[in-house]
């Protein structure tokens, strides 16, 4: 295989953002992802918040890239047809001490360049956030906070990068990195050996292991678990803003989150985890999140919860690590990208492009860069008249597969065409199985559609990759 100019390790939002940004230039770019599909690592459990830029340490990469990223994300979402909603956030104070801290946060935020910050009083809160506890006395309002679907952003970035020539390899976990001289890396994966001049490590939780393989082992990724709980879509309008408590030393606290799909979410917890693959949730986490969320919105009930999951934040200390490793020329680490990583992603991509340039790579723009992609249609998100026109154009928009979230056969087939290979991949792209019945009604239909489309027997269809096959075989006699 012809060597790549750049190989990116990791198909999460960071890898995908870098890939898409660099696909503007005349470069041969590859991306390897160990999971079956992009966004299956850290990105899939992201809360989807585009932060305004408060609560970051002054002078840090996080502070600068978050404020920049908030602006850039809007543009990218527009270009790629990803829904971005500027819902605004409220950091809520419940007593006078906390009110004092709001002023401090406002001052710090303004110094970081966060626009539009405002302290609002309880009358404002009553009018604009009626379900909020009447014990709330004030809040810091950050109007530029927004929400996106984290995985759809990754899929659409990847798809667009692919259209502009980036080659994606999934199921390609890196097993070893060897060097055949300066800027000649050899990357060993189950999908083959890749050669590249520049190597970008965006491997999320495993970035320390990848970096060590390349010869730089001066940081460690410590997974910090966050458990999140999704509420029924019926509670979509339980809040109008993202609700935050005052932050602690180590985390932004347990939030009430609006999501791009409509279902509110409560969480996350923040506990150090021993294992980078431990995505279990706990009874204790559930209790803690529920109580904290009820402190803000008393009407949230345990019965509203329809789903939950845990994610791991790839923490590598206080700040992001984004740097060229001079001791291994051509190797760039993009590690420790925890919150506000999703927001910062497009700014990180620009920074990486700059680092590459400074380290000898010439960036020449392509004559034609396809910056725009057609928005993915989702019936649940469009008005009825539009649905009528779509069904007229393609009858299978009227063939509903997932009743809880109103997903048609056409959307499922489109998702597969765009790269879904697993039931989770279909779920993240379309929301089929993500509703209140959890796939009880639609799983069989999805299995069959996927099996037919990718020409694999139903018994080989998985939830999220090898080892997670849905069924154990055919019935005896069949």
């Amino acid at each position: 295989m012809k060597p790549f100019d750049i190989l990116i390790i990791g198909g999460g939002v960071i890898g995908a953002s870098i890939a898409r940004e660099l696909s503007r230039y005349r470069l041969r770019i590859g991306l390897v992802e160990k999971e079956e599909e992009p966004a299956f690592g850290v990105s899939k459990s992201n809360s989807g918040i585009i932060h305004p830029g408060t609560q970051n340490p002054a002078g840090s990469l996080k502070a600068r890239l978050c404020v920049q990223g908030n602006i850039l994300t809007r543009k990218i979402c527009k270009e790629l047809g990803v829904d971005f909603k500027e819902v605004g956030e409220l950091i809520v104070a419940f007593d006078e001490t906390e009110r004092g801290r709001l002023l401090q946060l406002k001052k710090e935020g303004e110094a970081l360049g966060v626009p539009g910050l405002e302290i609002v009083d309880s009358a404002w809160l009553k009018a604009n956030e009626p379900n909020l506890s009447d014990k709330a006395i004030a809040a810091l309002y950050a109007p530029t906070a927004g929400i996106v679907s984290p995985y759809r952003l990754v899929y659409d970035l990847s798809e667009n990068a692919g259209r502009n020539g980036v080659k994606f390899y999934t199921g390609a976990g890196v097993e070893g990195i060897s060097q055949r001289g300066e800027r000649r890396f050899e990357i060993h994966t189950p999908q083959g050996i890749f050669n590249t001049r520049y190597l970008i490590n965006a491997a999320g939780l495993f970035a320390d292991e990848i970096s060590a393989m390349a010869g730089v082992d001066d940081f460690k990724i410590r997974p910090r678990k966050g458990e999140e709980f999704l509420l029924d879509k019926k509670r979509e309008h339980i809040t109008n803003h993202l609700l935050f408590p005052l932050p602690s030393q180590t985390s932004k606290g347990i939030l009430v989150i609006k999501t791009s799909d409509g279902n509110p979410m409560i969480g996350p917890t923040a506990e150090d985890a021993a294992d980078k693959e431990d995505l279990s949730t706990s009874d204790a986490g559930f209790k803690k999140v529920l109580l904290s969320a009820q402190k803000m919105i008393p009407s949230i009930s345990e019965d509203d919860v329809i789903a939950y999951f845990a994610g791991l934040r790839p923490s590598a200390g206080k700040d992001f690590i984004i740097r060229h490793e001079d001791k291994v020329p051509g190797f760039i680490n993009v590690a420790g990208i925890q919150s506000p990583g999703l927001t910062a992603a497009p700014a990180i991509a620009l920074l990486v492009a700059d680092i590459l340039k400074k380290n000898g790579l010439s960036l020449n723009k392509k004559l034609i860069f396809h910056g725009h992609r057609e928005k993915t249609m989702q019936l649940f998100a469009i008005p009825q008249e539009k649905t009528r026109r779509l069904i007229k154009k393609d009858a299978s928009y009227g063939d509903i597969v997932c009743r809880c979230e109103m997903v048609s056969a056409k959307e499922v087939k489109d998702a597969i065409k765009r790269g879904a290979r697993t039931l989770d991949g279909i779920k993240f792209r379309t929301r089929a199985q993500a509703g209140r019945c959890h796939g009880s009604f639609c799983t069989t239909r999805l299995l069959k559609i996927l099996s037919e489309s990718i020409e694999k027997p139903v018994t080989e269809i998985t939830k999220r990759g090898p080892g997670s096959e849905i069924v154990k075989g055919n019935k005896s006699g069949d």
């Binding site: 019926k234 693959e277 995505l279 279990s280 949730t281 706990s282 009874d283 986490g285 559930f286 345990e302 019965d303 919860v305 329809i306 789903a307 939950y308 999951f309 009825q384 649905t387 009528r388 069904i391 007229k392 009858a395 299978s396 928009y397 009227g398 063939d399 509903i400 009743r403 109103m406 209140r436 019945c437 959890h438 796939g439 009880s440 009604f441 799983t443 069989t444 299995l447 069959k448 139903v458 018994t459 998985t462 939830k463 999220r464 990759g465 090898p466 080892g467 997670s468 096959e469 849905i470 069924v471 154990k472 075989g473 055919n474 019935k475 005896s476 069949d478």
Partner: protein
């Protein structure tokens, strides 16, 4: 179908029956075990046979228009509903509306079982559909959470397919299923049943590897130190049903938050006059015969409502 036929018998001439699936009969189609119809037909039938009796009957009535694969996306207070099916989006206004939308199963998430989210966790009904309709075997070593009837029936079904059912775990003191199902599906197959236990954790990265169960006291609180672990590759959830009433909720019908049924003092009626709910979507019944009988009442109530209107 029972409501439509009864309404027709009571003089209603213009009936539209919307079914979201590709065939009539609903969940009965996957219930291939027997025990249906003892009360209604005085015969022992399988689920598909029971459904077929009604299908045969309804197809004889030209006044009943049947529209399959039809999914209602919107319902308003004045009984205007919008439905879509392949190639069509249509709005119809009904003078009277009967909802027979059935139930969905409670999920693992609704009872908050902690742990991981591997493949191999199924609602009992999905497992039933996979085996009986699709001819697939969901798993080989099974633990069942809850002792609802579908769970009990699926315990036997898995045993008959050569799979091993390691345990049925029920948080209450006694089964919530029918006694006959406990005898025929559990005791006859010597499947261990654990009462006063709940599954506290599902373990396994990609596929279920085991579950942890814990004993609970009379207030359903965990008793420390009573953890038991069952190795298995599959967990079935059979902890009850919830009426599917999201559409009438959209139309403004008062819904009981605990049961998800319409708030009502009279059988099949709702807070919107002329909007009736029947069968399992009105309340969860033990046997289908009662569903049919009460749905017939809904059909007659609808006819009576129309007569009074004129």
């Amino acid at each position: 179908m029972a409501a439509a036929i009864a309404a027709h018998e009571s003089g209603v001439k213009d009936i539209l029956l919307l079914e979201r699936d590709q065939y009539l009969g609903g969940i009965l189609n996957q219930c291939i075990h027997t025990g249906f119809g003892i009360e209604y037909f005085k015969e022992v039938l399988t689920g598909p046979e029971y459904a077929q009796r009604f299908i045969k009957e309804i197809k004889k009535i030209p006044d009943i228009e049947i529209s399959l694969k039809s999914f209602v996306v919107d319902l308003t207070r004045d009984k205007t509903l919008t439905f879509i099916k392949p190639g069509i989006l249509e709005k119809v206004k009904a003078r009277v509306l009967i909802m027979a939308t059935g139930c969905r199963e409670k999920t693992r998430e609704m009872i908050h079982i902690a742990g991981t989210r591997p493949s191999g966790v199924f609602s009992a009904g999905l497992a039933q559909k996979l085996i009986n309709i699709e001819g697939l075997l969901p798993g080989k070593r099974v633990v069942i959470a809850g002792s609802g009837d579908i769970g009990l029936i699926m315990a036997r079904r898995f045993m008959l397919e050569g799979a091993e059912v390691r345990a049925v775990i029920e948080i209450e003191k006694k089964t919530r299923g029918l006694l006959r199902n406990v005898v025929q599906c559990i005791e006859d197959f010597e499947i261990p049943m654990y009462f006063n236990h709940r599954i506290s954790k599902i373990n396994g990265k990609d596929r279920v590897e085991s579950v942890t169960a814990v004993k609970v006291d009379d207030d359903l609180n965990d008793i420390p130190g009573t953890d038991v672990r069952f190795d298995c590759d599959t967990v079935l959830i059979s902890v009850g049903l919830i009426p599917e009433n999201e559409l009438i909720e959209m139309a403004g019908v008062q819904i009981d938050k605990k049961t998800n049924s319409p708030v009502s003092h009279e059988l099949n009626k709702t807070s919107i006059p002329g909007l009736f709910v029947c069968g399992n979507s009105f309340k969860v019944y033990d046997i289908v015969d009662s569903v049919s009988l009460d749905s017939e009442i809904a059909g007659r109530l609808a006819a009576e409502y129309l007569r009074k209107k004129i």
